[in-house]
């Protein structure tokens, strides 16, 4: 059942500030139609470029996405740019009373849209000298390919919302909610953020099997037989269980040198994210466990 506050329902039923500003100083666009939510925010500044004169939005998404965008525009109007640039997703959620945890990514989308709009203004109008948040190096590296989520966004959301589990990160950013291939990396980011990198608890499926370990510990390059055997072992002990966790499966069709041919089955065979699964997860796993030269192709 919907667990929305009256304020969320009000902003959803009567959204404020819908549309696009023709004379906007900057436009922020985040999300996309494939992911299931997207937002376009246009922002106009006052004459002195110190305050936000107007903000309008368009949103494709669920009730809480629409309400979050509507709330954001109300919060932005008349605020100083400096003040507004400090707005967090939690501020949006607070403005609305609260949001269900699984819907927190809607408020994050609002925060991101405004940051994107600010970045757009800085790019188009460097003469405004807008204050901007400092970004860490490498922050724009994409961790979750399915939903296009960067390291920077994951770190920011973990810090702002004091998140502690991968599941929460998925609720707040959607990262890990598609093929799930980046869940380990999210865990690493969480561990770093929580200062527990040392005791990072590896997921069982990520542990190389004893056979793979034995072969790997043997010095020298792999013989074709060893390589094939390691591919088979990795496939059976890591890749298939991982896919099965998501209701899918795969079959190892052929191995020729470094070329691995597979066939996706179950959910994977029909998943719109199948290409990503192959490229970012199956291939990455085999490269990590067997050889960096491996390429994976899927046949029907």
């Amino acid at each position: 059942m919907w667990d929305y506050t009256d304020k969320v329902r009000d902003h959803f039923q009567n959204p404020r500030n819908v549309g696009v500003l023709e004379d906007a100083d900057g436009i922020g666009e985040v999300g996309n139609i494939i992911c299931g939510d997207a937002m376009k925010l246009s922002v106009k500044l006052t004459e002195d470029k110190k305050r936000i004169a107007d903000a309008r939005f368009q949103t494709f998404g669920c009730a809480s996405a629409i309400a979050s965008a509507s709330a954001l525009t109300e919060m932005l109007k008349d605020r100083t740019v400096e003040d507004a640039s400090k707005l967090t997703n939690q501020d949006i959620a607070d403005y609305l009373g609260s949001l269900p945890e699984a819907k927190m990514h809607c408020s994050v989308m609002g925060m991101e849209a405004f940051q994107a709009a600010l970045a757009d203004i800085r790019k188009k109008h460097p003469e405004y000298n807008l204050p901007g948040p400092a970004t860490e190096e490498g922050d724009d590296r994409v961790v979750c390919e399915c939903f296009n989520v960067t390291v920077g966004k994951i770190r920011e959301v973990i810090r702002l919302n004091k998140l502690t589990t991968v599941e929460q990160v998925t609720y707040y950013t959607k990262a890990g909610g598609g093929c799930g291939g980046c869940k380990e990396e999210i865990q690493k980011i969480l561990d770093e953020e929580l200062g527990q990198a040392a005791q990072a608890e590896a997921k069982p499926q990520a542990t190389p099997s004893p056979i793979a370990q034995t072969i790997k510990e043997n010095v020298g390059p792999l013989t074709p037989f060893q390589k094939m055997r390691m591919i088979q072992t990795t496939f059976d002990s890591v890749i298939r269980p991982g896919l099965q966790d998501d209701g899918g499966d795969a079959e190892l069709v052929d191995v020729e040198g470094d070329k691995v041919t597979i066939r996706l089955q179950g959910h994977c065979a029909t998943c719109a994210l199948a290409d990503k699964t192959i490229e970012h997860w199956i291939e990455a796993k085999l490269r990590e466990q067997v050889s960096a030269a491996i390429t994976v192709t899927a046949v029907k």
């Binding site: 959204p15 299931g36 669920c62 209701g247 029909t270």
Partner: protein, 392 residues
């Protein structure tokens, strides 16, 4: 609730028929005996079970002894698949489809992980149809059981059960169909028509019986190994003291279903068709999903491009207390939209904007008229909010 409710979500569950409630009531009050007891006080309870079994058997064209009462459709599905893996010694494959209910898909997944079974999944085309040639190619001497749903819960497609069950038997495999969505909506005749179906699952609450009662049909002599061990109930095929009231209820519901099956395929179907035609005519970029030639008479799955399903549902509720479902990510409880619509390869611009409207014999024309009045402005308004659908 002051405002009237317009319940167009009958594939999710249905209201309990008054007659069903009345049939159950004595067994929740004065007739509380354990049907296995020996004194005459237990007579009415035992008789209610016998009657319920007969009524369900009549609906299916089955023999009463082929009816096993369970707690729900999911239990029936679990029982069959887990049994097949035990009884079909030496056969290690299951064939099913990628559009099954989670009761089948997750049981298959469990058997894959813990019983070393290999599962093959039939693919579907853009209308959700399966290919019999693919099925034929995938069924072999290693197939323990073929399990294909009678009708799909989301898009309403009816699958070729007769042909599939024959293909399964030709290779010595068992055949099961999850008929939870089909019962009461389309005729099912296991005696004369579907003679190669070994097992069939159904669930009471989808045809006006209460929740918590299901049936597993097991054809005489079909190999079966129980997974719920205990007492002698259901001829030791399913232990546990019988849910007497609900068995009386599902029996009555089966009797009523048989009486109303004609109405489902005439009046209810006409209302569904009116709803579909009205929405397609008034909402641009609306696409009907599924196989319109082989579809349940009560189901309409329609997508409205450029908008998201959950927001449609919330508006429907707020404007007219209309209950419906959506296959969008935000309503499936995960971040991914419906596995059925994804398997059909639906355009992503449309995938998130699907709404399922499912009728029942209690649906009135006035309710359909209200839905037709309320829905188009909701679609228009949400599209005005959306950044998509303008440039094309």
């Amino acid at each position: 609730m002051s405002e009237p409710l317009i319940y167009l979500d009958n594939n999710a569950t249905t209201r309990v028929a008054e007659e069903v409630f009345d049939a159950m009531a004595p067994f929740l009050r004065e007739e509380y005996a354990n049907p296995s007891s020996v004194y005459p006080f237990a007579g009415p309870a035992a008789a209610a079970i016998a009657k319920g079994r007969e009524q369900v058997a009549t609906l299916l064209g089955a023999k009463p002894e082929e009816i096993i009462f369970t707690s729900c459709g999911s239990e029936s599905d679990n029982a069959v698949l887990r049994s097949a893996v035990k009884t079909q010694v030496g056969r290690r494959r299951i064939l099913t489809t990628c559009v099954e209910h989670p009761a089948i898909l997750n049981t298959c997944r469990d058997l894959t992980q813990y019983a070393g079974v290999h599962v093959d999944y039939l693919s579907v085309d853009s209308q959700g149809r399966i290919d019999l040639d693919e099925a034929k190619a995938l069924i072999n001497e290693d197939t323990a059981i073929v399990s294909v749903m009678f009708a799909n819960n989301e898009i309403g497609n009816i699958y070729p059960i007769r042909e599939l069950s024959r293909l399964a038997h030709a290779k010595g495999a068992l055949f099961h169909t999850d008929a939870v969505q089909a019962i009461g909506k389309v005729p099912v005749d296991l005696q004369n028509d579907l003679t190669d179906v070994d097992f069939l699952s159904l669930s009471g609450h989808k045809f006006h019986a209460p929740k918590g009662i299901g049936v597993l049909y097991r054809r005489t002599f079909a190999p079966f190994a129980t997974y719920l061990t205990g007492g002698h109930q259901e001829k030791m095929q399913r232990a546990g003291t019988e849910n007497v009231a609900s068995i009386a209820g599902i029996g009555k519901a089966a009797e009523l279903a048989l009486l109303h099956i004609e109405e489902e395929n005439t009046r209810v179907k006409a209302l569904r068709d009116k709803l579909q035609a009205g929405l397609v005519a008034t909402c641009p970029d609306a696409i009907v999903n599924g196989d319109q030639e082989h579809r349940l008479p009560n189901t309409l799955n329609i997508c409205f491009k450029y908008i998201e399903g959950e927001s449609i549902l919330l508006r429907l509720w707020d404007r007219a207390h209309i209950c419906a479902s959506s296959g969008s990510a935000c309503t499936t409880g995960s971040l991914e939209p419906s596995h059925v619509l994804r398997a059909m390869g639906l355009d992503y611009k449309a995938l998130h904007g699907t709404v399922r409207l499912s009728l029942s014999r209690y649906t009135t024309e006035a309710e359909i008229d209200t839905a037709l009045e309320v829905l188009p402005p909701i679609i228009r308004n949400l599209r005005e909010l959306s950044p998509f659908g303008r440039e094309e």
